[in-house]
Symmetry: none
Amino acid sequence: MDIHDLTRRLKEKNDSKIVLLVADGLGGLPVEPGGPTELEAANTPNLDRWARKGVSGSMTPIKPGITPGSGPGHLGLFGYDPLKYVIGRGVLEASGIGFVVGPNDVAIRCNFCTLDADGNITNRRGGAGATDRLSTEEMIPRVEKLRQVSIPGVEVFVEPVREHRFAVIFRAEGLGGKVADTDPQKTGVPPLEPSADDYDSQRTAEVSKQFLAQARELLAGETKANGLTMRGFSVKPDLPTYEEVYGVRAAAIAVYPMYKGLAGLVGMEIVGEPGSLEEEIDVLEQAWGDYDFFFVHFKYTDSRGEDGNFQAKVEATEQFDAIVPRVEALNPDVVVVTGDHSTPSALSSHSWHPVPTLLVAKTCRPDACQAFGETEALSGGLGHFEAIYLMPLALAHAKRLAKFGA
Amino acid sequence: MDIHDLTRRLKEKNDSKIVLLVADGLGGLPVEPGGPTELEAANTPNLDRWARKGVSGSMTPIKPGITPGSGPGHLGLFGYDPLKYVIGRGVLEASGIGFVVGPNDVAIRCNFCTLDADGNITNRRGGAGATDRLSTEEMIPRVEKLRQVSIPGVEVFVEPVREHRFAVIFRAEGLGGKVADTDPQKTGVPPLEPSADDYDSQRTAEVSKQFLAQARELLAGETKANGLTMRGFSVKPDLPTYEEVYGVRAAAIAVYPMYKGLAGLVGMEIVGEPGSLEEEIDVLEQAWGDYDFFFVHFKYTDSRGEDGNFQAKVEATEQFDAIVPRVEALNPDVVVVTGDHSTPSALSSHSWHPVPTLLVAKTCRPDACQAFGETEALSGGLGHFEAIYLMPLALAHAKRLAKFGA
């Protein structure tokens, strides 16, 4: 039995408000033996106060030893088993530019490439010579040209990503996502024809061929980046919505498109267009009356970790701590503070280490934790637990889950 | 999704070295209320240093409350779900004498028994009277006689175990393992005929009948132990190899045949013929350049626990601690110290208690543990975890697992 089989059955509605504050890549490592992690080194009086008031724990995003990408990391936080629900590469690319992939969409990662007179690829990244690649400035007008493609019965979206990369989304009923990549992975040969791997995807392959034929015409005048390859064909994973599995109206507040896209996949509404953490909290305050659940994403703990800059991650963490009083002032029933994975600056990358996690509600049974940090969290009341249990815990503290059985 | 589905997909190769030091039956119990366990009573300065440097945890071999035998205990440590992979009794018996069971083998536990003139069993353990049993010295020459059995198209191995017990292995393609025991579990009746439970095992039953017919001739001159019964027919469980699921070349270093046999089942190479722990470390040093992963098995913590001798187990633990500097000098990237189960001397047997476990690597997030012991490990950074996650954790710290999802 899936945890959603339980929440779906036990969910109850009330007026409570839940806030999930995600500091991306929150967990860290010391830079010297016996030293503090970034979170432990940071001056976080507000989070520490919450740690004393609430309950802490050490959260495993997926399974011990497994380092999550942003997609599986967030699915886990949202309570969706990341080993069961796999987000295709095309859908992730579209999500990454904030395109909310719908149930009738096939999303495709595309690259501009350069073709010679015989239609053979001379540069797989759309450059003029053998090694250079198309710039973002050169890509944009080509994407705009491709928006002229018209295929009967199919809505076509062409969206810029960066450099030679862009995304195509076909929207129509009954389009399967099992079409093989057309990138031959080498030069001197033409792109492959789209070919379907199952019955449902035959129309997708057909639509792709029409798209490619029209694209060839539209790009015929270009001397470079006059062709394209298509990869990672995928449909929206069959994710039940937050409303369906938890009975909450959920809002997502994020600066970066990727996290809006991921939240959109589970049916959260993307609210506002904040450009900073402070503006995210502005949006939270404005939207407070309209939703039950708020996912607020803070990017820079991860970015500074990826940069390998311990001190900058410490500062990003302090910046995150500083907005706590504004969230507190809204008087939420349940607040969860966590990350989608660890990003230790010592590793300059995502890692498998557990993520310190905090839950604050009136119904918390106190633990001995006096501050919010990795080591303290080890002995916290939430123990060592898997990310997919965070949502049931939040719902329980919000009194939104009924008793199981009589 | 199995943890191996993840490791198989994410595994990466590099030059790192991982050492898994297994002190069999490591976990213990105090002999008086409030007293230390054997490990806590032992003077283990080296392991304590590793505990300060690395990360500790309390490992459940199978599931809480379940006491593992050596087979499931080691499968769990090796990362193979002991509830999914079951090692048949015949295969375990063969492994126990160091016979590495191959993919075309059927292994069978056999007992010499004594038959009367009518072919009825008078003694199920090969003795002359009703209750005595065959000695090992009497068993050996009979096993040697049985080695004359010749069955066309089948390689036959007859191997001594002890007293009236021996093992038979048939090697040929397509031999199933589902043949019922021929031991009628009583005297006064003849042994049962081998009978197959499925189609694939019909040839095995046929081969067994031929073996029994020839054995009857070869043992005809004996006045006791002139017959045999066959039990626990089993084939090698379909265990993927270490190379396949983890991408490592694995070496097993053990004194006792059972552990060599178990390691052989998961594709580890059995290295050297050490006769003591010190000689095992000699082998480790010699083989260091040739493998990525080393399983080193130390038996005496378990043996002394089984003896019910607290002080002797303390001493065995100290002997184990003493080899730590030699392992450290090899500069491994990851060291794991654990046991396959607990063997408290207070119980003189295996037990279900969790096993204190230690992982040392440069990428460890420190915890508060100051020594290696059961109580300290409870608050360690590895938390309370199941044995099957030890391998993914070791691989992660060796940077041998890629990110899951983008």
